[in-house]
C-alpha cells in the first residue's frame, strides 16, 4: 500500500454545456454601462445577436438574447420589445438620444452601452456564454 501513484481529477461536467448567465453577471464581466434598466438584472440571457439592420434582428434574433448594435435611434426599442430581447448594448461609446432612453424606460427595455467595438464585445460575450 502507498506505492501506487494516485491521481485525482475533478471533471467539470458542465464544461461543454452552454451557460445561462444572468444579465447582472454579463453587465459586470463585460464592464457595461447601464443607461436604463428596471428589475431585469436577475433575468437569464439566452445568447446574443449582432446586427445593425432592424429587419435582420426582427427576422433572426430570438427571445432573451442580448442585441449588440451601433444604432441609437428610438426604433431599436420597438424591435427589442416585440422580440422580447433581454437587452440592447450600444457599442463604440455611441450615445442614444433622450427620446430613445425615454422610450426604453416606457417600454421597460434594458439599454446598455460599451466603449468596445461590436466585434470585440460579441467575442467576449460568446466566450462567456458558450
Amino acid at each position: 500500500m502507498g506505492n501506487r501513484p494516485v491521481s485525482k481529477i475533478n471533471v467539470d461536467t458542465k464544461q461543454d454545456k452552454k451557460r445561462n448567465m444572468k444579465l447582472k453577471e454579463i453587465i459586470e464581466k463585460l464592464n457595461l454601462t447601464v443607461i436604463c434598466a428596471n428589475d431585469q438584472f436577475e433575468n437569464e440571457v439566452s445568447g446574443g445577436y449582432c446586427s445593425d439592420l432592424l429587419s435582420d434582428v426582427m427576422g433572426n434574433a430570438t427571445e432573451g438574447q442580448i442585441w449588440i448594435t451601433i444604432q441609437v435611434h428610438k426604433n431599436i426599442i420597438a424591435v427589442a420589445s416585440l422580440k422580447e430581447l433581454s437587452a440592447i448594448v450600444i457599442v463604440k461609446g455611441l450615445e442614444p438620444g433622450e427620446d430613445t432612453i425615454e422610450t426604453a424606460k416606457k417600454e421597460n427595455i434594458v439599454l446598455l452601452s460599451s466603449n468596445e467595438t461590436a466585434f470585440d464585445l460579441a467575442g467576449k460575450l460568446y466566450g462567456l456564454i458558450n
Binding site: D52, L53, L54, S55, D56, M58, G59, E63, T69, Q71, H73, K74, N75, I76, A78, V79, S81, L82, K83, E84, D99, E107
Partner: protein, 138 residues
Amino acid sequence: MLNLEFVIEGGDFTKAGQASSEVKQILKQINIPPAHIKRIAVAMYEAEVNVVAHAYKGKMSVFIDPSKVYLKIEDEGPGIPNIEQAMQEGFSTATEAVRQMGFGAGMGLPNMKKNVDEMQVTSEVGKGTIVELTTYIT
C-alpha cells in the same frame, strides 16, 4: 370575433411599431399561443414599417377568431410596380436616410412571408398597396 383598427402615419418613424406593439399586447391578453404571437409580431412590424417608409398613410385592421389571426394593412402610397421583384430578399427602394437607420434592407416582405401561413399583396401604382397576412391557430 374581434375586430380592431389602427392608423399608421406615413413618414413618421417616431411612431413606427406602435400599432404592432398594441396588437401584440392584445394577442397576449386573449391567450394566443406565444409561438404564434412571436411570428405574427415580426410580420406585422414589417408591414407597419413599410407603410411608414413608403406610403403617405395607412391602416392596419386585425380580425381575430378562434381559428386564425388575419391582418390587413392597406396604404395610400406609390404602390409596387413589380411585386415579384419586391418579394426578393435584398431588393429595396428605400431612401438613403431610411437605410442609415437600419431599415430598407430588402427583408421586409420576405420576413412577412416567412412568418405567416398565407400572404397576399395587391398593389396599384400611384394609388396604394394592400398586404393581407393570415396565421392559423392550431
